[in-house]
């Protein structure tokens, strides 16, 4: 690799890590204020404007707390577990494109840390590493509640990874690519015909995953809720019966790392949802016009116009991702929790057959060239 490539990858990776680190406290704030909004409460409003600095205060608190290791734990795995769950959470985002490419001199720069040709497989393989952190934490804590929590979590994740992986196969079939960059690129086109029916010109439905794979989208959505351990599938934590589940014995920054991992997983899941089913960085309807206006009114040409486009694409991607993150919060404060066996029933008896049916239908439609 040339020097430029090294700098490019380094810059993108650093940018992404910094952004993701900022997303966590903001998400914590959104969750607290959002839940307060739904429950006729005020929420944290003392630290900074609208309580925005509350997360900062929390970080300071976590850092300054005593960090004990209980006597009955297995110290090595106990200390390793938070790292094992937080690192994959950062890594998954590497293949998600947050804007299209730009031409700098002779180089084409993709706004994506790595455009792997096995993109989706990479996502699933790294995302499933996170469960090791939870199993380790549960086992190493040497406590019955944490053990139950980690057992629940491992079976839950394995069951739902299956339907999650299968639901995405429909997307792979329709876009004929595993590269997330390609998938996002192709969603910029429009659906011109549904089977034999040719759609009129004015009915411009973008070729987004949700319109091509509605069933697959639903299965994927439910599965990511289970994958990220969010309510209604937060059984590994199972607040009421398992106290705090797998992270019961953790305190201070070690606990904060688990919490970070949860919010990072949420961010990644939202990014994936946006990329696979909502056109990724493709501009939202209406943003093309605004972009045109901005470019013409400011008289932007050449590189400046290109950068404006990249900025708009990044904004579009962020809006889509933010919507799904809000959706996670919204669902959490509305629904009750499933019971463990009901969750398993749903996973194996409903989600799995449905995702298989989705593959079957997509295969037939693709074979006849209808999608």
């Amino acid at each position: 690799m040339e020097t430029f490539d090294w700098i490019e990858v380094g810059a993108k990776a650093a940018f992404l890590v910094i952004v993701l680190l900022q997303v966590v406290p903001i998400m914590v704030w959104v969750e607290r204020r959002g839940s307060a909004l739904m429950q006729n409460r005020l929420g944290p409003n003392r630290c900074g404007p609208l309580g925005l600095l509350q997360s900062l205060a929390d970080v300071v608190k976590f850092l300054w707390k005593e960090d004990p290791v209980p006597g009955h734990v297995e110290p090595f795995y106990y200390l390793l577990a938070p790292l094992v769950s937080v690192v994959p959470a950062f890594m998954t985002f590497a293949v998600i494109p947050f804007a299209s490419s730009i031409q700098i001199g002779t180089h084409t720069v993709h706004f994506q840390v790595a455009d792997l040709n096995v993109g989706l497989l990479y996502v699933f393989s790294i995302a499933s590493l996170g469960v090791y952190g939870i199993i380790m934490a549960g086992w190493a804590s040497n406590n019955k509640y944490t053990m139950l929590g980690s057992l629940r979590s491992s079976s839950q994740m394995i069951s739902y990874e299956l339907s999650m992986g299968l639901s995405v196969i429909g997307i792979i079939m329709t876009f004929s690519s595993l590269k997330l960059g390609d998938i996002a690129q192709q969603q910029g086109q429009f659906i011109t015909q549904i089977g034999p029916i040719v759609l009129p010109e004015w009915l411009a439905i973008p070729r987004w995953g949700i319109f091509l794979q509605p069933l697959g989208f639903l299965i994927f959505l439910v599965s990511v809720f289970a994958e990220t351990n969010r309510l209604p599938f937060d059984l590994p934590e199972g607040e009421s019966e398992l106290v705090a589940g797998y992270h019961l014995e953790y305190g201070a920054m070690k606990f904060a790392l688990f919490m970070m991992a949860e919010y990072l997983n949420m961010t990644t899941a939202s990014g994936l949802l946006a990329t696979l089913y909502f056109g990724g960085w493709q501009l939202l309807p209406g943003m093309h016009t605004i972009l045109g206006l901005v470019q013409s009114s400011l008289g932007l040409t050449g590189m400046a116009a290109e950068w404006a486009r990249v900025l708009f694409e990044g904004t579009s991607f962020s809006i889509k991702t933010a919507f799904f993150m809000w959706f996670f919060v919204w669902v959490r404060w509305t629904l009750p929790r499933f019971r463990y066996d009901q969750l398993m029933d749903l996973g194996w008896k409903v989600m799995l057959p449905l995702s298989l049916a989705n593959i079957f239908i997509t295969a037939i439609l693709t074979f006849y060239g209808w999608v």
């Binding site: 006729n40 209604p232 106290v243 404060w333 009750p336 019971r339």
Partner: protein, 416 residues
Amino acid sequence: MTESKEARRSQIDLPSGYQVEHDPDDLWGDSRVIVNIGPTHPAMHGALRMVAKLNGETIEKSYCEFGFTHRAKEKLGENRTFHNFTVYTDRLNYCSALINNVTYAMSVEKLMGVEVPERCVWIRMICCELARVMDHLICVGINAVDLGAFSFFLYGFHQREEAYTLVEKLCGARLTTSFTRIGGLMGDAPDGFEKELKAWVEKTRKVIDEMDELLTNNKIWKKRTVGVGVFSKQDCMDYSFSGPNARAAGIDLDLRRDQPCMFYKNVEFDVPVAQNGDVFDRYMVRINEIRQSLNILSQCADKMKKGPIWSEDKRVRIPEKTVVHNTMEGLIHHFKFFMTGFEVPAGEAYTQFEAANGELGFYIVSKGATRAHRMRIRGPSVWHFQALSPMVEGEKIADMVAALGSINIIAGELDR
């Protein structure tokens, strides 16, 4: 946990020849995981303990323990004057302290043959129904929190705080009210109380409808509650269930209707009854009872008239402050009243009332002194808590949490 009870006992020095009996309820016989749920566990409302033998997530066998908050209330009743004991009744079922106050006052009045004036009875009825609404709101709310529905809980809790504000207007305290006196009340309801009460009733009606819409038909909620923690009609009779838990299993019994005291004959209300005796039915019965209590409250507010709140009986009536401060006789009366208390004629009486959780009873034996000779309190939670173990046998741990929340165990009246 392979260690058996015998092995553990053998570590203790036993007298020679002492044989450890085999206990059929021994959980420690085989190598299953034993989980100790409580007494400091977030799902245990109050200091309760359940030891459960698990097979996977299923509870194979369990036993429950209570008594962690035992404060010898009944013995205290024998060492305090009848007037003094009122404050102790607050700490029985602390979610509906007013009902305990009223029932205790009624039981002593029954023993003494004291009649209280009309306005006093209406205010006491308002207190009882307010307390019932507060108790039911917290029961269904906490039950929902245990199953993950937090917002539902806070909607109810907000309204409950408003109810506390009303109670505060009556007696100045929110939780430990001590509002009643033998033969009267601490004070009269403030001006405009009826209006505020009716406004609150209307608001609460809307909130209850909202809560009902949010949760009752929710599919996950139904999955978690229907057919869970079932306790049949026969079982309920065997375990002496009362109150909403018995009504959820089809026992059509409500002491307000069947043994009317105060003015319950003069107000119209229905007694909601369900058939299956599961967590969902207990939840539904409570939600519908809140609606009925709101009906009673608005009727009470309409029928309440101005008038005295104290009985004319000189034995129990606390002397007026103007009399106390200006006359020698009044001062002596006041001193004697609070230092030695009033004498209650010899006899015994059991007074029961439909408290929020079931039948609350005070059995008082007096030998003519200023203190009770024997005092016994029937707290409904004792009977309900005993049923928890059979109720959850063969169900999941998560169901245990749901079942415990639905029978509304209050440690205060359980342990006394």
